[in-house]
């Protein structure tokens, strides 16, 4: 199917979807209390974004996401590199990590609440915990993806260890690392949301949970849309970086 045809089909589906969202509740086919019409949601979106309490909540959530990310990524990367480079440690810990990774992190949330309370620190701690494992595993994979031949060639030209790290490991690992950043942010964001929705007095997740409990559906949908847009924006940003750094991958 040609590119134009694909684009037009996608556009058509989007219009159908949005159209249904508007028409079905208004016509009463779907209960408008459960699914507010699109126009109402959009109007509410405009309202809440202007509210200072919502903006404060967004700031809190953003801070939690950023701080957790800034801790989890370097920590996870360092551990990932260590496990890939040190055969002994790698052999011991990597199978264990694999098992731990398979456990859904949300079950640990009550423990984090007991240990850290329900403030900023707890959400950061929990989100870091949710994210660090995927970073470790992706970084290990990235290190191993550097071909031995590349290193041998560099050695035959008298490269020092530092030169090999900078000139071979870094560019070679970049596409995988960027992909890892993109995916870890998804885990990170999810972690923050779960913590905020479950037990928090601040943040967008808390507001969304509150709206849900109070059956304020237009606000709930509006809040979800704001978060979705933020997540997609970050995703696209990293993806465009990935594309730039991956041009050499055929």
């Amino acid at each position: 199917m040609s590119r134009t045809a694909t684009l037009l089909t996608r556009l058509a589906m989007l219009i159908v979807f949005l159209g249904a969202w508007e028409v079905l509740p208004r016509a009463g086919i779907v209960n408008p209390m459960l699914l507010p019409p699109l126009s109402q949601v959009v109007a509410t979106l405009g309202d809440i974004v202007a509210r200072s309490d919502f903006r404060e909540a967004m700031a809190v959530t953003a801070a939690e996401v950023v701080v957790a990310f800034v801790i989890a990524v370097p920590l996870g990367a360092a551990l990932g590199v260590l496990l890939a480079e040190n055969a002994y440690l790698g052999a011991i810990f990597r199978p264990m990590l694999f098992y731990v990774f398979s456990i859904p992190k949300s079950i640990f949330l009550p423990m984090f609440i007991l240990a850290f309370g329900i403030g900023f620190g707890q959400k950061v701690a929990y989100a870091t915990f949710s994210t660090v494992f995927i970073v470790i595993m992706s970084t290990s994979a990235a290190v191993e993806s550097v071909k031995a031949e590349y290193i041998l060639v560099a050695q035959s030209y008298g490269a020092t260890r530092a030169q090999i790290l900078r000139r071979i490991y870094v560019p070679s690992m970049m596409p995988i690392l960027l992909e890892a950043v993109r995916i870890s942010m998804i885990f990170n964001f999810t972690g923050v949301m779960i913590a905020e929705m479950y037990a928090s007095r601040t943040g967008v997740g808390h507001m969304i949970a509150n709206w849900g409990e109070n059956f304020m559906l237009p606000q709930l949908f509006a809040g979800v849309i704001v978060l979705a847009l933020a997540a997609m924006a970050f995703n696209e940003l990293v993806r465009s970086l990935e594309v730039r750094c991956s041009r050499w991958r055929s």
Binding site: K147, L152, S156, W248, S250
Partner: protein, 268 residues
């Protein structure tokens, strides 16, 4: 057409031998214990010669090459390149071309050729000029801006050769550089290599599995036995230069190749 046998220029005094290997043995410590890889290798390559090493798989020829490159140290014996030992890689003395071109995919062809100079910290302008000159030597001067994934197998190897020559080392080591190429490309590349060798006057030590390639390229063929590798024959190839494809059909060529083949078979 008359073949004009080209005489190699007289070697300079004090640099008579580009490569001298004396009594080299190597024991490799693997999981099953100590494995003798090479036994008592003696090898002398005069400057400007094209020497080819053939031998069965696993005979240790790659290990020997790694030692000549300074990437490995033999457990016994001495190796001198250009009159001095080579305990660690010295790309200004010994250039290496591996079987896998191993060009860095995130660098253009020109950047790849510049790579050894970038490691040394040469200034940008000089690096660029030198690398461009090397690409021209291997016939790829208009391909500098291409990425490796845009190049054919033969072109990648040519870039790899340009990279090996960029610091003008007197000795060039090549470990089965054409093994991954199809037969026709191999033949063309062999011919190209002889042209480059003729223009630059390097000393070349070339490893191959192919007996035809060995006789076609070499001044002398060193035949190695299976592990533990030792040199079982030294065959002087006195075919005139420049070599031509037609020579491959001559009796002389066939006899030389047969002699090498018999040696390898006898030791199996």
């Amino acid at each position: 057409m008359q073949q004009v046998a080209k005489l190699k220029p007289q070697v300079e005094t004090g640099r008579a031998n580009a490569v001298e290997v004396t009594g080299v043995s190597h024991i490799y410590h693997g999981r099953e214990g100590a494995v003798p890889a090479l036994t008592d290798i003696d090898m002398t390559v005069p400057a400007g010669r094209f020497t080819v090493i053939v031998g069965p798989s696993g005979c240790g020829k790659t290990s020997l090459l790694m030692m000549l490159a300074g990437l490995r140290t033999p457990t016994a014996g001495t190796i001198l390149c250009d009159g001095r030992p080579i305990p660690s890689p010295d790309p200004q003395r010994v250039g290496v071309v591996f079987q896998e071109a191993s060009l860095y995919p995130w660098l253009t062809a020109l950047d790849n050729v510049e790579f050894p100079l970038a490691l040394k910290g040469s200034p940008r302008g000089e690096r660029r000029d030198r690398a461009q000159a090397m690409l021209k030597l291997v016939g790829l001067d208009s391909f500098g801006g291409r990425y490796p994934h845009e190049l054919s197998g033969g072109m990648k190897q040519r870039v790899s050769i340009a990279r090996g020559l960029v610091q003008d080392p007197p000795v060039l080591l090549m470990d089965e550089p054409f093994a991954a190429l199809d037969e026709q490309t191999r033949m063309t590349m062999g011919h190209e290599l002889l042209r480059i060798w003729d223009e630059t006057n390097k000393t070349v030590v070339f490893i191959t599995h192919s007996l035809t390639e060995a006789v076609y390229l070499a001044d002398e063929v060193l035949v190695m036995s299976a592990r533990p590798g030792r040199i079982i024959d030294r065959v002087a190839v006195d075919l005139p230069r420049p070599r031509t494809y037609q020579m491959m059909a001559t009796d002389k060529f066939g006899q030389l190749r047969e002699r090498i083949w018999q040696q390898i078979r006898a030791k199996e």
